[in-house]
């Protein structure tokens, strides 16, 4: 018994889900694209990592490839996506996730099909104790999370991020102002998918075994819950949402050992999540954290101007 391992394990999952939540934030929070097939890109990344690492390639290369493959899929999905209404986009992306899962499941030659595929840990060659192993994963995941966070923070607080936010509000107006929203939407889906793909790679190397049953649409919905809870278009919100939901998950699991509950905590937990989301949407649709205005340096000029005039 080593409580630390469990705490670290929790941190790893928080980090991985925070990445997914951030990636959905790029697509939905900033660009307004309702991707309900997030799990497809997560899965693509996980499988890419699994397959490439079986060639004995180094883990960082596999992670990069995981991101790349997912991002190419993102571009592929964006082609129909750009022509579709929001509700259609939701259903198409949801279906896409299921098609991809069926494909991986049915094509045994690719990655073991229903058998799943074993994945070497990123630290397989090092002589780590289980606790160090988990520590290493925490460091890896959170370093990448922080890097992605900073990357997105910089990207979203730039004229580029401004265009994305503009597209969310009114894509025709953006086009009239000279920016092809098509290009930006494709890029947003690619960036979002790449992050989800990297998250998938991290997940695969941490679990060390993946199979198609891990990638049900439920994963997508969990990520949505995180983002809606934390607050769309705020990177802190995305991360905090992921941390809270994961904490809730684990907490309820532990809590039930200490309370004699007359009901199944698993059922009640999901039902409560459902209620929580409904109440949030009704009474606090912007989540815990509100969107912050852009910081590009331009806002500093305003102060000067306002004080001088």
């Amino acid at each position: 018994m080593d409580l630390m391992i469990y705490v670290l394990d929790t941190l790893v999952f928080m980090g991985i889900f925070a990445l997914l939540s951030l990636s959905l934030n790029v697509e939905y929070g900033f660009t307004g694209l309702g991707n309900f097939g997030k799990v497809a890109f997560f899965m693509a990344g996980a499988y890419t990592y699994a397959i490439t690492s079986s060639f004995g390639w180094p883990f960082y290369l596999c992670l990069i490839l995981a991101g790349l493959v997912a991002s190419v899929l993102g571009a592929l999905v964006s082609l129909p996506a750009l022509r579709l209404r929001e509700d259609y986009l939701a259903i198409v992306t949801l279906s896409f996730g299921e098609i991809l899962r069926i494909f991986v499941k049915a094509e045994q030659w690719l990655a073991g099909g229903v058998w799943g595929i074993a994945v070497p840990s990123a630290f397989a060659n090092m002589d780590f104790t289980p606790r160090m192993q988990t520590w290493a994963s925490v460091v890896l995941v959170w370093v990448i999370l922080i890097a992605v966070f900073v990357f997105l923070y910089l990207l979203m607080n730039s004229p580029y991020g401004r265009v994305l936010r503009g597209i969310r509000e009114d894509d025709v107006a953006v086009q009239v102002l000279g920016k092809s929203y098509v290009l930006y939407k494709v890029q947003a889906l690619m960036v979002g998918s790449a992050i989800a793909g990297v998250a998938g790679g991290l997940f695969a190397q941490y679990i060390r075994f993946i199979d198609p049953y891990m990638f049900l649409p439920l994963v997508t919905f969990t990520v949505w819950v995180m983002l809606i809870l934390g607050g769309p278009a705020n990177p802190w919100g995305a991360v905090v949402g992921a941390v809270i939901v994961e904490f809730f998950n684990r907490g309820s699991r532990i809590l039930k050992d200490h309370l004699a509950l007359p009901f199944d905590p698993h059922n009640v937990q999901y039902a409560l999540f459902g209620l929580l989301i409904i109440f949030l949407l009704l009474y606090r649709p912007h989540g815990l954290f509100r969107e912050k205005p852009l910081k590009t340096g331009a806002e500093a000029e305003v102060a000067k101007w306002q004080s001088s005039s």
Partner: protein, 289 residues
């Protein structure tokens, strides 16, 4: 090599289920203009209601259908009043409405899991089997197909002959004009949510009678039902009929084709999705319009 007659009958059985389950979805989707993912749970709920009557071999099937209709309808109408209508009034975005419907689905599904458990259960009804030439057909299929056809005919008359039916079409056609014409929109929409989910509940009873019963029952067939609804053109009842037939045929003949090609028949789910994606790209308004 394969028995076309039997596969045709199988397709019609599949289609009938899709038609029953899709009717309510297409009507409410057409009126309220957002896809309700909790719809799956109305199907499941109907199925569980049926259990009260059909857990013993001497159950009355039609009673189960009626109660499933009423209970699923009631829960749907209440969820509209308590969740979706307030959201719509707050001018919630389409995406948030979808998320809310998924959340509602969580609540309903896990409440059902808590009440009835996650183990599979089954109705205790033995259906007679008939041979028509090479083709075999069971009593359940006959009732299912008959119910679907009768519902379709009844709905046709309801939508074209009755005041409420015409009001539903009027709102779907032009909601604002419907208001100024004196139609109490909220009332009609609520009625549609009740009625549509009621049919979903009936479909749930059939599905459970045909297979078995557990809280994921509705979710397992939700995506094909969405495919049928969108294929037919949202809100178009006649498009739905065509789409249900088409998808029923595509899935069942698809199985033959897939195994002919040496592919896993699991791809039959993918067939529905691929047709859906294809139609959305080529003809986003669906087949009927």
């Amino acid at each position: 090599m394969f028995d076309i007659g039997q596969i045709l009958v199988n397709s019609v059985v599949t289609s009938s289920l899709y038609l029953l389950a899709g009717t309510g979805l297409t009507l409410t989707y057409g009126l309220s203009r957002f896809p309700n993912f909790a719809y799956a749970e109305f199907i499941t709920l109907g199925a569980f209601c049926g259990l009260f009557f059909l857990a013993k071999p001497d159950g009355v099937f039609f009673l189960a259908l009626i109660v499933a209709f009423l209970v699923a309808g009631f829960v749907s109408a209440s969820s509209y009043t308590l969740v979706f209508r307030p959201l719509v009034e707050r001018k919630t975005s389409l995406i948030h409405l979808m998320v809310a419907s998924i959340a509602l689905g969580y609540v309903l599904r896990h409440s059902m899991g808590e009440s009835w458990g996650w183990s599979a259960q089954a109705y205790q009804i033995m259906w007679p089997v008939y041979n028509i030439g090479n083709v075999r057909i069971t009593g359940l299929w006959i009732i299912l197909i008959a119910t679907a056809v009768l519902t379709a005919v009844a709905l046709h008359f309801f939508l074209t002959r009755t005041r409420a039916g015409k009001a539903i079409r009027a709102i779907a056609s032009n909601p604002d004009l419907a208001s100024v014409t004196g139609i109490n929109r909220q009332k009609v929409v609520l009625l549609t949510w009740f009625f549509g989910a009621g049919l979903a509940g009936v479909a749930g009873v059939f599905r459970a009678a045909d297979t078995r019963l557990f809280p994921m029952l509705g979710w397992d067939i939700l995506l094909p039902i969405f495919a049928v609804t969108i294929l037919g053109g949202i809100g178009s009842f006649y498009g739905l009929i065509i789409a249900a037939l088409l998808l029923g045929l595509a899935e069942n003949f698809g199985v033959v084709l897939l195994s002919g090609l040496g592919l896993s028949t699991e791809y039959r789910m993918a067939i529905a999705f691929l047709i859906l994606i294809g139609v959305l790209i080529i003809r986003p308004k669906g087949l009927a319009r």
